[in-house]
């Protein structure tokens, strides 16, 4: 069973308008590379020059922000749900 990744609207132009895509990656780091292979251009939108997830991009695994898990080393397993959500700059 693959891992489903929820893609936010601003990035759907890169995924052929798909709001959810599937990967089979062992952790978030690998997931980001796998996404780039399938949808070229998506990596630089999510990751900065230093290889860190961009400050205003939040990646959630099972509803938890990876910054408070193991960051890009956060493991993924079959059936996991990953959400990529731009930070809300409101308030």
């Amino acid at each position: 069973m693959p891992i489903s990744v929820c893609i936010p609207t601003p990035l759907r132009a890169l995924t052929g308008q798909k709001d959810t895509v599937e990967v089979e990656s062992k952790d978030v780091h690998e997931m980001l590379s796998d996404l780039e292979k399938a949808y070229p251009g998506i990596y630089e939108r999510l990751v900065d020059d230093q290889g860190e997830v961009r400050r205003f991009v939040n990646i959630y695994v099972g509803g938890e922000d990876i910054r408070f898990l193991q960051n890009q080393q956060t493991p993924l397993k079959a059936g996991d749900e990953v959400s990529i959500v731009p930070a809300i700059a409101g308030g």
Partner: protein, 478 residues
């Protein structure tokens, strides 16, 4: 989740890439603005106003013409958008300081009316301000009795409890946001709010003849709710914390195409806070205070005061001088203070804020990262205050300076006290306290904490016995 304000456009332009959507929106906005402009030319009065406005617009476009991503520096047209399409960083107004410096000096500013618009070149609107023309230039009070109580050499209170028209600093940001909303052709304005912003949007929209919607957590203080409804706005209480309200507003902005002052109009709105900082410097005699203590919800005010100090320095309006900006939060919702104290700029959200300072109860502060950076860069620290300390802070300010602040003001006073006590603000230096909203908005917080008034019959004998009992003396102190 459809969360981005730049997706305001995606409802109307669901297909195509980001830049196509932006272009489409630009066309739509311009046509709206044009029709507004033409409508105004039907009467002689409006014609005069708009002719003057056209000249001013040309001038203003020289000072401000675009938005810029704070992260990557990509530029965007000055429309209703607030997030970078590339890396999702926040967009900010981008100014031509060279052009501003050529026309703005102390004398020019001092010659203008006492409102926040005396710094007009540094605010992101294109024509004349049309909403909130009387906002700002509130007193900077030299607070000697409070200084003594805090144990510090000099203390000033920047008193926005008397800001016009809704008694909080939010009138500043709303004046800019609604003036810009009109320029962009919006007919309906809205906000996500912890109360003060709702009051201000409701009042200023009413005076501007605009339709407004304010969305607030359902459990807000009664006076803050009433103080929105009275203006004829549409108040929607959301069963959830502020962060849930904010998220919903992003979705509504996308679907309905309204001007949300703190979502898709945020780049304009946020700049209004700078005037609080400009006024502090001008009223101090054109200089930057050594220490400033600012209460933090999203953290935006703190970052904008920092920006204001930097801009005046850059423009030569004040001498370059060392200063520290300190943050203040409630202990029950302290994500920014926790980050500063933990030596990180990573903000850990507070999922369930619990504090009587409801106006500061934002668990995921939009500008938390930048607020931490501002504090760190200026050598500022951050503190938090418990509910008891907040109430004591409100009372201390009232008893020493005759200023009744809302609970957020109690947070500022309580945290300033801690900063002095711990030496973060040395006793022989000066501090400006940012007091941003009036106490009558949050009276519930004081219920049960103040002495009841003495009650006697209309008899001199009873009054005499009251005085001799010594009770009255205690009450006078309270």
């Amino acid at each position: 989740m459809e969360l981005l304000g730049c997706q305001t456009q995606s409802g109307a332009f669901p297909k195509g890439n980001a830049s196509e959507r932006m272009r489409g929106f630009a066309v739509r906005v311009l046509s709206r603005r044009d029709s507004l402009f033409l409508a105004g030319e039907r009467t002689g009065h409006d014609q005069v106003r708009h002719r003057g406005g056209a000249r001013e617009r040309a001038m203003a476009e020289k000072f401000f013409s675009q938005l810029k991503c704070r992260e990557c520096g990509r530029t965007y047209p000055a429309l209703a958008t607030h997030v970078c399409e590339f890396d999702f960083g926040p967009l900010e107004a981008d100014y031509n300081y060279f052009a501003i410096g050529a026309v703005l000096n102390r004398k020019v500013i001092e010659s203008r009316p006492g409102t926040m618009w005396r710094y007009r070149e540094l605010l992101p609107i294109v024509g004349d301000p049309t909403v909130g023309q009387q906002v700002g230039f509130t007193p900077l009070v030299k607070a000697d009795r409070l200084a003594k109580a805090l144990g510090v050499k000099a203390c000033y209170v920047k008193n926005d409890t008397v800001n016009h028209p809704t008694l909080s600093f939010k009138d500043r940001v709303v004046a800019v946001a609604l003036s810009r909303a009109r320029e962009l052709g919006f007919k309906v304005v809205a906000c996500a709010s912890t109360g003060n912003l709702a009051n201000s949007v409701a009042a200023n929209a009413a005076s501007a003849g605009m339709e407004s919607w304010v969305l607030i957590p359902a459990d807000l203080e009664q006076n803050k709710v009433l103080n929105s409804i009275v203006y004829g706005t549409n108040v929607v209480g959301i069963e959830g914390a502020y962060d849930a309200v904010n998220r919903l507003c992003s979705e509504i902005a996308g679907k309905y195409g309204w001007g949300f002052v703190n979502v898709n109009l945020r780049p304009y709105y946020a700049e209004g806070s700078k005037t609080y900082g400009y006024e502090i410097m001008e009223q101090l005699g054109w200089r930057i205070p050594r220490h400033t203590v600012v209460c933090m919800a999203s953290g935006s005010l703190l970052t904008k005061i920092h920006k204001a100090y930097g801009e005046f320095t850059k423009l030569g309006l004040v001498e370059k001088d060392g200063f520290s900006i300190h943050g203040a939060q409630a202990t029950g919702c302290n994500p920014i203070t926790a980050a500063r104290k933990g030596g990180t700029d990573l903000i850990r959200p507070v999922p369930h804020p619990k504090t009587i300072a409801k106006s500061l109860a934002i668990g995921t502060p939009a500008d938390g990262y930048y607020a931490v950076k501002s504090m760190a860069k200026t050598g500022g620290w951050s503190e938090d205050a418990t509910d008891e300390e907040i109430i004591a802070g409100v009372q201390l300010l009232a008893e020493t300076e005759g200023i009744f602040a809302e609970t957020a003001g109690g947070v500022t006073v309580a945290c300033a006290k801690k900063l002095v006590a711990t030496g973060k603000i040395p006793k022989d230096e000066e501090v400006v306290l940012c007091i941003t909203g009036h106490g009558l908005k949050t009276v519930e917080a004081l219920t049960g904490h103040l002495a009841a008034p003495s009650k006697i019959k209309p008899s001199l004998k009873e009054f005499d016995s009251l005085i001799s009992s010594g009770l009255a003396k205690t009450r006078v102190k309270v």
